[in-house]
Amino acid sequence: MTEVDGAHTVMILDTGESCVCKGNESVLHALVRARKRIPTGCRGGGCGVCKVEVVAGSYSKRAMSRAHVSETEEAERRVLACCIYPTADLQLRIIGKLQRAVCRPKQAGA
């Protein structure tokens, strides 16, 4: 999907939902834009709240805290959503603290 220059689709496998991630924004930024109720942490790669596992697709990344993402995890594409920028459409699973908020059913009227 490239309706916007450099934009890619991010699919959350836990819920089957998708959102569009613009060329210069992080995956977390796109998730927040699409789902306002999502809790976000520091957005700087330091607190580890927004951990995801990328199952398909490619991305560029910036430094994230080793207190939350080991080298092995980073190599196995378990990363912080605030620190990755899609270079292709992505499919991901939410792991860590975000999971409860993303995967719980929407409340009536929410």
């Binding site: 520091c42 430094a63 805290s65």
Partner: protein, 312 residues
């Protein structure tokens, strides 16, 4: 009140994930004054109205958070006395030689019960605030550059053993308890989950929250000269798309006006002003846990989830 022991929070070494990005952030957005870089690549800053050479030190690391916190004490005699008191309290200390930190004398370091490396030192070069010592002007260009806080004010740390930490600070180091938050359903005088401690007439020079994981940083706080300047800081954060956690609002606890936001590595910082003056004879103020939302954010009365879950 004569201050003869511990004077003030003097320095804090912060771990950052990208030193160049963080250097620009603290210099151009926060508006700290860069004062040096050492052989290890650490970058040194002071707030404009501080007179000592440095207060905030950045170190490139693979994880965010705080390396250590240092308080300035009156003189070498006070340093020796505090070292002895800490040792007699059953905590071992080490001496770090002068010059390990730029323009800073020998430091006495030990670990707090909360797991944070903590230091005292008696010497750090006075470089002044740029206004001179004879017939000075009231302010200069640095007072308007970026958010432009006047001082590194305090930090809030998360870690275990809150009771032991309070005991150490109030019974050994000469601090006094200013405010406290009780654990859920605790009676007045019962177990605390958070404490605000002063060695001056500020409402806090350091604060702690009970937390399972040791050595964690909740925020580094910068003193602002007015509430108007807090609003100006909020504008600057917006202009630079800096992620904001809470505020501008007022803390019920300490009554200070505040913004919490995050630096590029996810370390939370605060711009702070307007708290009341505290004295050692004052009875500590108590907050019950069910009112903590007002203690944190008095206008919304909201216990923001990030307060208890997001730290570095």
């Amino acid at each position: 009140m004569a201050m003869t022991g511990v004077l003030r929070p003097g320095h804090l070494q912060l771990r950052v994930l990208d030193i160049e990005k963080s250097r620009k952030f603290y210099r151009d957005i926060i508006g700290l004054v860069e004062t040096g870089m050492d052989a290890q690549g650490r970058v040194y800053f002071k707030a404009w109205d501080e007179r000592d050479h440095n207060s905030i030190i950045l170190r490139q690391a693979d994880r965010a958070g705080v390396d250590f916190i240092g308080f300035r004490v009156l003189n070498k005699l006070a340093l020796d006395r505090l070292e002895q008191a800490v040792q007699e309290h059953g905590i071992s200390t080490e001496r770090i030689p002068a010059g390990d930190l730029l323009e800073t004398g020998e430091r006495v370091r030990f670990e707090l019960p909360s797991g944070h490396p903590f230091e005292f030192y008696a010497e750090k070069t006075h470089i002044g605030n740029g206004l001179g010592m004879l017939n000075p002007r009231p302010w200069g260009a640095a007072a308007d550059y970026g958010i432009a806080p006047t001082h590194f004010d305090h930090c809030l740390l998360y870690g275990p053993n809150l009771d032991a930490t309070r005991k150490l600070f109030t019974e050994v180091l000469g601090f006094f308890l200013v405010e406290r938050v009780l654990a859920p359903n605790e009676p007045i005088g019962g177990k605390d989950v958070a404490i605000w401690l002063s060695c001056s007439i500020k409402t806090h020079d350091i604060a702690f929250v009970e937390h399972a994981e040791p050595g964690k940083l909740h925020h580094v706080s910068f003193r602002m000269p007015s509430g108007e300047r807090i609003q100006r800081a909020a504008d600057i954060l917006g202009m630079n798309k800096v992620p904001v956690d809470i505020g501008p609002t007022r803390h019920g606890i300490t009554r200070g006006q505040t913004i919490y936001a995050w630096d590029p590595s996810g370390n939370r910082f605060e711009t702070f002003t307007g708290d009341y003056e505290a004295y050692p004879d004052y009875e500590p103020i108590t907050w019950t846990f069910d009112e903590l939302g007002y203690g944190l954010d008095y206008s919304l009365g909201k216990l923001h989830e990030t307060f208890l879950t997001v730290m570095t």
